[in-house]
C-alpha cells in the first residue's frame, strides 16, 4: 500500500495521448503546404521512399495486409475435406429445404439458413443432397463454393476487429495485437471454414460492436449525417445478428445498456433542452428497437414466402397455416365431425403438437399407456370419436346404417386411439411432470373401460363462422373429463427420455377458460360417409404465424436439455471455456480421414481471460486511489478507461454468464462471441500496463506478444486447416489432459 502515498499529479500523460494511431506521426506543419493548400512532396532520400509511402498510407496498408492474410487463411485448402463436417449436416439440410421450398422447423431464426440456401443457389446446388453427417459430397454439389461463401463472413471479422480497435482509441501496438489475435485464433479460423451459422453470427456481432463504437465517437455531434448513419447501421446490425441466432440478443443487450447509460447521462444534463432530449429518445427507439424488429420480422416474412410447400416442420404450426402450404390436402377433409370419424387433434397453444399415444407405458403413476403431444405426423396421432358405451349398445343397429350423426357441443364422447384401440383416460393420479394436475393415459379397449373414459366436448368458438357442428381446423374445442371435471391440456412441459422428450399431456384441475393450451382443433379428418370438404378459404395472419413460430422455437430450445442418460461427448460446461479446457472433434477420427479439431489458440484464450481479471484489479486499484484523491488519469482518460472497460467486460459477461443459467446443453462454440470481448480487453489492458513505459519497452512487450500468438498459431495450425495423418502425431500438442485431441 506504499504506492498509495500522496503524489503530485503529473501532466506528462497528455503527450502520450497523441501517439495513439499512425496519423500523428506525419508532421503537418504549415510550411509543408504551398499557397494552394496542397501538400508538398516530402523530401526524402530514394531509399526512404518505401518508408515514406508506408508512413503516409499505413492506416490503409496495415488493415489491407491483415485482410489479405485473413482471406488467405480462411480460404486455404477449404475443400480439403470432401465430407459433410459436423453441423454442416444440419445447416446444409436447412439450406436444401429453402431450395426445395419445403417448410421445416428449427430452433434458430431463418436469416443464416436462408443465406445457406442462397449460397447453395449460387453454387448451382439443386437441394437434392441429404447432408448426412460424415457423408461424402457428391460431385454435383459445389460445397467448396458454399464454404467460401461463409468463410467470407469469417474473413471480414479481421478488418472489423482492426477498425473497432481504432475506434476504441487503442494504441497502434494494441490495435495490431487485437487484429492478430482475431486473425490467428484457431477456433475462429476453424469455425469459419464450414457451412455453419457461427461465422455469420460472429460477423454480425463484430459489425454491431464496430458500428456502436463508431456511433459513440459521433456523440459530440448528435443528429449529424454520420451520427444517424452509424446509429441506423447499429440497429440494422442488431436486427441481423438476432435473425441468425438468438445469441445475438446478448450483444443487443450490450447496446441496450450502453444506450440506457447514455440517456441517463443526458438526463442529468440540465442545459439540454427537453425537446432535444426527447429527440434523443425517439431516435434510439426508432433505430435500435423498431428497426431491428422490422428486420427480424422481414426475415420471417421471406422465410414464409419461400417455404410454401408442405415439409417436415408442418406440425409445429397451426392447422390453418398448414392448410396454406402446398402439398397438404387439408381441403379434402370432410368438414363436419361425426361419430365414427377418424381424425388428428391439434393443440392450439403456441408450439402445440398433435395428441399422440404409443404402446410404451408410464414408468410411474398408473403405469398405463402414455399419452403425449407430438410434433411429427405418424399414425399414432390418429383417434376415433365414439359415443359412450351405454349409448352405443342401444344404437348398434343405427351405427351400421349410412346415417351420420354429427357431434355437437356438450356431447359426451369417448376418444379411441386408432392403432392400439385404447381409450383416452384420466384418473386421480398425478401427472408425471406437472404434479399438480392429473395424469392422462390410454386404457382399456372397446369393451373394457369405465366412466373415466368419457369426455365432454365443449365448443369455444369457430374462427370462421358460427355453426352448431364441429368443423375441421376452425372450431376451437375443449375436452372436459366427465367425472373429474378437469380439462385436457398440453403445455410444453417435456417428458424425460422414457417419454421420448415428447410433450406431456395432463388433465388440468383448474378451469381456466382463456388458457389456449386447453384448446384443441381437428386437423386431419377421415370419414367415408361424409363428402370431401369444399373450397373453404383458410387464411392466417402473418403476425400470428410469426409469433407462433417464435414460441415454438423458444419451447424447443428449452427442450434441448442435457440428457442424463446419455453422455454427449461434444457438450461442455461453461466454466470449462475461459481456460480452454475442452476442444471438440468435429468429424470422424480415423487415422486416414481429414480431421479438424475445434480448439482455440491457447495463448489467446488464456491471456484474454487473464486480462479480464487484470482489468478488474486495475479498476479497483484506481478506484481506491481516486477515493484517496490520487488522480493518475485526467478526467477524459478516466472516462475512456471506464468506457472501454465497460464495453469489454460487460460485453464478455453478457455473452458468457447467461449460459450458466440456461438449462440447455452448451458447447464450446457458444463462447466464441465472448472471446472477442476478451481479445479486445487483452489488447486494452496491455496498453494500459505499458502506458508509462518508453517506446522501446512497448516495442519489446508487444513484439513478444505478437511472436507468441504467431508461433502458437503456427504450432497448432493443422488442427484448423485439417490434417490427414494419425492424430497420435499431434501428441505434443495435447497441452491439457482434458483435451481429446489424441486418444
Amino acid at each position: 500500500m506504499d504506492t498509495l502515498k500522496r503524489r503530485h499529479f503529473t501532466t506528462t500523460i497528455n503527450q502520450q495521448q497523441f501517439s495513439k494511431s499512425g496519423y500523428e506521426q506525419v508532421p503537418l506543419d504549415p510550411i509543408d503546404f504551398d499557397e494552394n493548400g496542397k501538400l508538398y512532396k516530402p523530401l526524402r532520400l530514394p531509399e526512404n521512399k518505401i518508408l515514406a509511402f508506408w508512413q503516409q498510407y499505413n492506416d490503409i496498408l496495415i488493415p489491407a495486409f491483415f485482410t489479405v492474410l485473413s482471406f488467405w487463411t480462411r480460404f486455404y485448402l477449404i475443400s480439403y475435406s470432401s465430407f459433410v463436417v459436423w453441423d454442416e449436416a444440419h445447416f446444409g439440410k436447412f439450406g436444401s429445404h429453402y431450395l426445395k421450398r419445403e417448410f421445416y422447423f428449427d430452433v434458430h431464426p431463418p436469416l443464416g439458413k436462408m443465406l445457406v440456401g442462397l449460397a447453395g443457389l449460387l453454387a448451382g446446388y439443386n437441394g437434392s443432397f441429404e447432408f448426412g453427417s460424415g457423408e461424402a459430397y457428391p460431385a454435383d454439389v459445389n460445397y467448396a463454393f458454399m464454404r467460401i461463401f461463409f468463410a467470407t463472413f469469417g474473413a471480414w471479422m479481421v478488418p472489423l476487429a482492426y477498425f473497432t480497435a481504432i475506434e476504441l482509441d487503442f494504441s497502434q501496438h494494441a490495435v495490431i495485437l487485437a487484429t492478430l489475435m482475431v486473425l490467428l485464433d484457431t477456433a475462429y479460423l476453424c469455425i469459419s471454414r464450414f457451412i455453419l451459422l457461427d461465422s455469420m453470427l460472429l460477423f454480425f456481432t463484430f459489425t454491431t460492436l464496430f458500428f456502436l463504437t463508431k456511433f459513440h465517437n459521433q456523440r459530440n455531434d448528435p443528429f449529424s449525417i454520420d451520427w444517424w448513419l452509424w446509429l441506423i447501421l447499429t440497429g440494422m446490425s442488431i436486427g441481423c445478428v438476432t435473425s441468425v441466432k438468438w445469441v445475438g440478443l446478448f450483444v443487443t443487450a450490450l447496446v441496450g445498456l450502453y444506450t440506457i447509460e447514455d440517456l441517463w447521462d443526458k438526463f442529468g444534463d440540465l442545459s439540454m433542452p427537453k425537446t432535444v432530449y426527447l429527440k434523443h429518445w425517439i431516435a434510439r427507439i426508432v433505430c435500435l428497437i423498431i428497426l431491428p424488429i422490422q428486420i427480424y420480422m422481414l426475415c420471417f416474412a421471406i422465410h414464409f414466402a419461400i417455404l410454401n410447400k408442405s415439409g417436415p416442420g408442418d406440425a409445429q404450426m397451426s392447422s390453418l397455416f398448414q392448410a396454406g402450404l402446398r402439398g397438404n390436402n387439408f381441403y379434402g377433409n370432410p368438414i363436419d365431425l361425426a361419430y365414427g370419424s377418424k381424425f388428428t387433434l391439434k393443440n392450439m397453444g403456441y408450439g402445440g403438437g398433435l395428441l399422440h399415444s404409443h404402446v410404451q407405458t408410464y414408468p410411474s403413476g398408473s403405469k398405463q399407456q402414455q399419452v403425449t403431444c407430438y410434433h411429427h405426423r405418424d399414425s399414432n396421432n390418429e383417434w376415433f370419436i365414439k359415443k359412450m358405451r351405454e349409448e352405443n349398445e342401444e344404437n348398434e343397429e343405427e351405427n351400421n346404417s349410412t346415417d351420420v350423426e354429427f357431434v355437437k357441443h356438450n356431447d359426451i364422447v369417448r376418444l379411441v386411439h386408432s392403432s392400439t384401440c385404447r381409450n383416452l383416460h384420466s384418473h386421480h393420479v398425478n401427472a408425471p411432470v406437472t404434479k399438480s394436475q392429473y395424469e392422462v393415459s390410454c386404457y382399456g379397449n372397446e369393451q373394457l373401460g369405465d366412466q373415466n373414459d368419457y369426455w365432454i366436448i365443449e365448443v369455444v368458438d369457430d374462427l370462421l363462422e358460427n355453426t352448431p357442428r364441429i368443423r375441421v381446423m376452425t372450431t376451437r374445442l375443449r375436452f372436459r373429463h366427465k367425472t373429474l371435471g378437469c380439462y385436457l391440456r398440453a403445455a410444453n412441459a417435456v417428458l424425460p427420455q422414457w417419454g421420448f422428450k415428447q410433450v406431456e399431456v395432463t388433465c388440468d384441475k383448474n378451469n381456466n377458460p382463456s388458457d389456449s393450451h386447453t384448446y384443441w382443433n381437428l386437423e386431419h379428418h377421415w370419414n367415408d360417409k361424409l363428402p370431401a370438404g369444399g373450397s373453404a378459404h383458410y387464411r392466417t395472419l402473418f403476425l400470428h404465424d410469426f409469433w407462433h413460430l417464435n414460441v415454438a422455437m423458444y419451447t424447443s430450445n428449452n427442450a434441448l436439455i442435457p440428457d442424463p442418460d446419455k453422455e454427449d461427448i461434444l457438450a461442455s460446461n461453461p466454466w470449462q471455456w475461459p481456460l480452454l479446457q475442452v476442444g471438440i472433434r468435429i468429424c470422424g477420427w480415423d487415422d486416414k480421414a481429414v480431421k479438424y479439431y475445434l480448439l482455440g489458440n491457447p495463448i489467446i484464450w488464456w491471456s484474454g481471460t487473464a486480462s479480464l481479471v487484470t482489468f478488474v484489479f486495475l479498476f479497483v486499484w484506481h478506484l481506491i486511489r481516486r477515493q484517496r484523491q490520487f488522480h493518475d488519469f485526467s478526467q477524459a482518460q478516466w472516462t475512456h478507461f471506464l468506457y472501454v472497460g465497460k464495453i469489454c467486460l460487460i460485453g464478455w459477461l453478457l455473452h458468457f454468464m447467461p449460459f450458466f443459467i440456461m438449462g440447455r446443453v452448451t458447447y464450446l462454440h457458444h463462447y466464441f462471441p465472448a472471446l472477442y470481448f476478451s481479445i479486445l480487453m487483452c489488447a486494452f489492458v496491455l496498453d494500459q500496463l505499458t502506458s508509462s513505459c518508453n517506446q522501446i519497452t512497448k516495442h519489446i512487450v508487444f513484439g513478444i506478444s505478437y511472436l507468441a500468438v504467431i508461433l502458437v498459431f503456427w504450432y497448432f495450425k493443422d488442427i484448423a486447416f485439417g490434417f490427414d495423418y494419425p492424430s497420435s502425431e499431434l501428441k505434443g500438442r495435447q497441452w491439457l489432459s482434458s483435451w481429446n485431441l489424441v486418444d
Binding site: 502515498k5 438526463f267 442529468g268 398425478n430 404434479k435 399438480s436 372436459r480 477515493q627 484523491q629
Partner: protein, 741 residues
C-alpha cells in the same frame, strides 16, 4: 397519501433548523439530562410495549404446543437433517439429553405418534418455539435501535407477531426458527456496532462488533442459508469501509488499515471460528460414543453419524465373513451347536434344529460367510463381486459349517413367527430354504452393501419372511440369548440389520481422520446432498410465488376431525409488505430521477434514514430471496421466511416515511469530538397511531381467521375451507367436492 406527504414536508420545514451548520441546534449532553423526566416516560412506554409484545408472542407460539402429538412434516428426516451444519441439531440434541430422552425414535413418517413412542416432543418443540417467540421483541429492538419511534417498532413487531407462517414453522421441530433468530441477532448487533462508529475502538464498539461476528457464525452454523446473512453484512461493511477510505474523512492510511483489520478479525475470523467450533463439537461427540451408546443419542445422532460412517465403511464382497448386527436391539446374529428342545413349555414342538440366537457380545460364533446363491446369480459376475441390493445369498455359519435356514415351523416364543435354524452346508436337499435376498434401504440395483452405513433387510426366498429379533430372551437352554425369528411383516422398521464388520479385513477399521479432513469432507457432502435434492415434491414451489403467497405446504392432516396444519402466511401482512417494498423502490427511484434533474424532494435526514436503514433492510430481503432463483434444487415456501422478516421491517420503514413526520436524527452515539450536527425529531401524530392500529387490527383478525390451519385445531368444515381459500392455488385439504355443471 399525497395529502400526508405535503404535510410531512411542511412539518419538516417547521421542524428542521436552517441548513447552515452554525445556526443548527447543537446536541448538548446537559440539555438531554434536563429532559430526563420526559425521557424516562418514553422508556416506560417503550419497555411496556416490548413486554406486551413479547408476552403475546409467547402465547401465540406456545398455544396448544402439544397438538398434534404426531410427527408433523413432509420431508424425510434424513434429508432434512443431513444437509445442514450441526448447530441446530446439537441444540435439539442438547434439549433431548437434558430431558433424558434416549433417541430411540426415528421421526420417519408423518403421523407417527409421539406419545406411544414416549418422545418428549413438547420439550423438543419448546426450544424452536421459544426462539420463534423471541423474533418479535428482537424485531422491535432492531427498529428502536435504528431510530424509529415506538409506534413504527410496534408495527414491525406486530407484523411478525401475527404472521401465521412464522408461527407455524417455528412451533415445530425444525431449524428455521433458530436460523431467523440468529439472523436477527446479527442485524441487531451490527446496528448497535454501527451506532458506535463515532467512538471507534471503544469497548462497546469492540463488543458489538465481536457479537455480530459471533451471531453471524451461529447463523451460518444452523443452515448454509446463513451465507446470505454473511453477504448482507459484508456489503454493509464494504460500504462503511469505502466511506472511511474517502479522503474527506481525514483518516490516514494507517488508521484505515486498523479499521480494516479490526473488521477482518471481528466479522471474518470470529465467524469462521464459531462455525468450526460446532463442527469440532459435533465430531467430538460422535467420537466419544459408539452406536447404541445412550449418552447423546437423540434420533439425529445416527444421521449425523451417517456421513462420518460412510468414510469408515467398507464394501462387502461375496465370500467375505461378516458379523450382522440388529439395528434397534444391537445384538449380533449368532449360532452355536446346541439344538432347540423338542418340546417347549407350552407344549408346542420344534424342529430340534441348531439354535440361532441374538447375542450381545463379540464372539467367533457371530461369524457368517456370505456365499452367492449360484442359481440366481448372473454367471458373468466375478466370484468375489460386490454384494448389491437385491442379490440372493447363503449365509454359512463358520464354526459349525452350516447354512442359515428358516422354515414354516413356529419360533420358540412366537407361534406367529418362523423358526430360524441351520443345515449342514453339504446338504443340498433344502437349498431353497437357505436362500436370502439382501435388500438395502433406499437402494437400487447398483447400490453396494457396505458395513456400518447400509441398512439392510434379509428376506427369505422361500417364505418371504424377514430376519428379525426382539428383546425377549430365550430360556436357559439357549443361555438367555435373544430370540431370532422370521417376521411375516417384512417391511417393518425393526427388520433392519447392519453388517458390523468384515472379519479380518477391517480389523482396526477406524481411520483416524484429522479434524480438517472430516470438516471438508462433511462440507462437500452437505453441498452435494443439498444440490442433489432435486426430486420434485408435490408441495415444492418456485421463488416467484413466495412474496405473493401463491401456495402453501400441507404439513399434517387428521381425517377424523378434519384437522390440518397448512403452512400459509398471513395473506394480509404478506401482501402489504410486498406493496411496501414496491413503494420503497418507487420512492427511491423517484428521488434518484429528480436528483438527476437537481431537484431534492426529500429532506436530508429523512433521505439518509431511507437509504441507510430502509435500503439495508431491503437489501437484506433481496439477498435472502434472490439467490433462490439460481438454485436448481427443489424449493419450498419456508425458504422465504428469513426474507419475510426483512420485508416486514421494510414495511415499517415505509409506514414511517408515510405517516411519521421527519425522523429522530442523529441516533448514533456521539463521539469524543462533538462536532455540531443537524438535529431532527420524529413527530407522531394521531393519524399515525390510528393507521398503525387499523393495520395491526386487520392483521390480528386475518391471523385469527387462518389460525386453525396454523395450529392444526379446531377442524374446519368444508364450507369454512372454501371461504378460506382466497386463492384457488391454496390446495387445502378437506375442500368441498366440486359440483361442476
Amino acid at each position: 397519501m399525497t395529502d400526508h406527504k405535503v404535510r410531512q414536508r411542511h412539518g419538516i420545514q417547521v421542524m428542521e433548523p436552517p441548513d447552515s451548520v452554525q445556526n443548527a441546534p447543537i446536541l448538548d449532553e446537559k440539555k438531554t439530562i434536563g429532559h430526563t423526566k420526559k425521557y424516562t416516560k418514553k422508556r416506560i412506554v417503550s419497555n411496556s410495549a416490548l413486554a406486551i409484545l413479547t408476552l403475546l408472542s409467547f402465547i401465540t407460539r406456545f398455544w396448544k404446543i402439544d397438538h398434534p402429538h404426531q410427527v408433523v412434516y413432509y420431508l424425510k428426516r434424513t434429508y432434512y437433517f443431513d444437509v445442514h451444519p450441526p448447530l441446530a441439531k446439537l441444540m435439539l440434541a442438547g434439549i433431548g439429553w437434558f430431558l433424558g430422552y434416549d433417541g430411540h425414535f426415528e421421526f420417519d413418517n408423518i403421523g407417527d405418534d409421539y406419545i406411544t413412542n414416549d418422545v418428549p416432543y413438547i420439550g423438543l418443540r419448546s426450544l424452536p418455539a421459544a426462539l420463534g417467540a423471541l423474533l418479535v421483541p428482537l424485531t422491535y429492538m432492531i427498529m428502536i435501535e435504528s431510530g424509529y419511534p415506538v409506534i413504527t417498532a410496534i408495527l414491525a413487531a406486530g407484523l411478525v407477531l401475527f404472521d401465521n407462517a412464522l408461527i407455524c414453522q417455528t412451533r415445530l421441530i425444525l431449524l428455521d426458527s433458530m436460523l431467523v433468530f440468529f439472523m436477527l441477532c446479527t442485524f441487531y448487533c451490527y446496528i448497535r456496532f454501527y451506532k458506535y462508529r463515532l467512538r471507534e475502538f471503544s469497548n462497546e464498539w469492540w463488543f458489538w462488533m465481536i457479537a455480530s461476528g459471533v451471531a453471524l457464525g451461529l447463523t451460518l452454523s444452523v443452515k448454509l442459508v446463513g451465507l446470505f446473512t454473511v453477504l448482507t453484512i459484508g456489503i454493509a461493511v464494504i460500504v462503511d469501509l469505502w466511506n472511511l477510505l474517502d479522503i474527506k474523512r481525514g483518516l490516514t492510511m494507517d488508521h484505515f488499515k486498523k479499521h480494516f483489520y479490526a473488521r477482518a478479525i471481528g466479522l471474518i475470523i470470529v465467524p469462521i471460528f464459531v462455525y468450526l467450533f460446532w463442527f469440532y463439537l459435533h465430531f467430538a461427540i460422535l467420537n466419544t460414543s459408539g452406536p447404541g451408546d445412550s449418552f447423546m443419542s437423540p434420533a439425529f445422532q445416527e444421521t449425523l453419524q451417517g456421513n462420518v460412517m460412510s468414510l469408515e465403511s467398507l464394501e462387502i464382497r461375496f465370500n467375505d465373513t461378516i458379523t450382522l448386527k440388529h439395528k434397534s436391539t444391537s445384538v449380533f446374529l449368532h449360532s452355536h451347536p446346541q439344538r432347540y428342545p423338542l418340546r417347549y413349555n407350552d407344549g408346542r414342538i420344534s424342529s430340534q434344529g441348531q439354535q440361532v440366537t441374538g447375542y450381545k457380545f463379540e464372539d467367533a460364533n457371530n461369524y457368517w460367510l456370505i456365499k452367492p446363491a449360484k442359481i440366481f446369480m448372473d454367471p458373468s459376475r466375478p466370484e468375489d463381486d460386490f454384494v448389491k441390493h437385491g442379490d440372493y445369498i447363503l449365509l454359512e455359519h463358520i464354526n459349525t459349517e452350516t447354512h442359515l435356514l428358516t422354515h414354516d415351523v413356529a419360533s420358540p416364543l412366537m407361534p406367529t413367527n418362523q423358526e430360524f435354524t441351520t443345515m449342514p452346508k453339504d446338504d443340498d436337499s433344502r437349498y431353497n430354504e437357505t436362500v436370502f435376498q439382501v435388500l438395502i434401504d433406499d437402494g437400487d440395483s447398483d447400490t453396494k452393501w457396505k458395513t456400518k452405513s447400509s441398512y439392510i433387510r434379509l428376506i427369505h426366498f422361500d417364505t418371504k419372511v424377514a430376519l428379525w429379533t426382539h428383546d425377549k430372551l430365550l430360556p436357559e437352554w439357549a443361555f438367555k440369548q435373544q430370540e431370532i425369528n422370521g417376521n411375516k411383516n417384512n417391511v417393518e422398521k425393526s427388520n433392519i440389520w447392519i453388517a458390523d464388520q468384515i472379519v479380518g479385513k477391517n480389523e482396526p477399521p477406524k481411520r483416524h481422520l484429522p479434524f480438517f479432513a472430516k470438516f471438508f469432507e462433511l462440507q462437500r457432502l452437505m453441498l452435494s446432498h443439498n444440490s442433489g435434492l432435486t426430486k420434485p415434491h408435490p408441495y415444492s414451489s418456485t421463488p416467484v410465488n413466495w412474496p405473493f403467497l401463491v401456495r402453501g405446504i400441507s404439513f399434517w392432516t387428521n381425517n377424523n376431525d378434519r384437522e390440518q396444519i397448512y403452512l400459509l402466511g398471513n395473506p394480509f401482512t404478506w401482501w402489504i409488505s410486498v406493496g411496501a417494498m414496491a413503494v420503497l423502490v418507487g420512492v427511491l427511484s423517484a428521488d434518484l430521477i429528480s436528483r438527476r434533474r437537481a431537484i431534492h424532494p426529500i429532506s436530508e435526514p429523512v433521505r439518509n434514514r431511507l437509504l441507510n436503514s430502509g435500503l439495508f433492510f431491503f437489501m437484506a430481503w433481496f439477498i435472502h430471496y434472490a439467490p433462490f432463483y439460481l438454485m436448481g434444487r427443489s424449493l419450498f415456501l419456508h425458504h422465504y421466511l428469513p426474507a419475510l422478516i426483512c420485508s416486514y421491517m421494510v414495511a415499517a420503514v415505509v409506514f414511517n416515511f408515510m405517516f411519521v413526520d421527519s425522523v429522530n436524527y442523529p441516533i448514533s452515539v456521539t463521539g469524543p469530538r462533538k462536532a455540531p450536527r443537524i438535529v431532527a425529531k420524529a413527530v407522531v401524530r394521531d393519524i399515525t397511531v390510528i393507521t398503525c392500529t387499523i393495520l395491526l387490527a386487520i392483521s390480528a383478525c386475518v391471523f385469527y381467521y387462518f389460525s386453525p390451519l396454523t395450529y392444526g385445531t379446531p377442524g374446519i368444515e368444508p364450507e369454512g375451507i372454501r371461504s378460506r381459500m382466497w386463492l384457488d392455488s391454496w390446495d387445502l385439504h378437506f375442500q368441498p367436492k366440486r359440483h361442476d355443471a
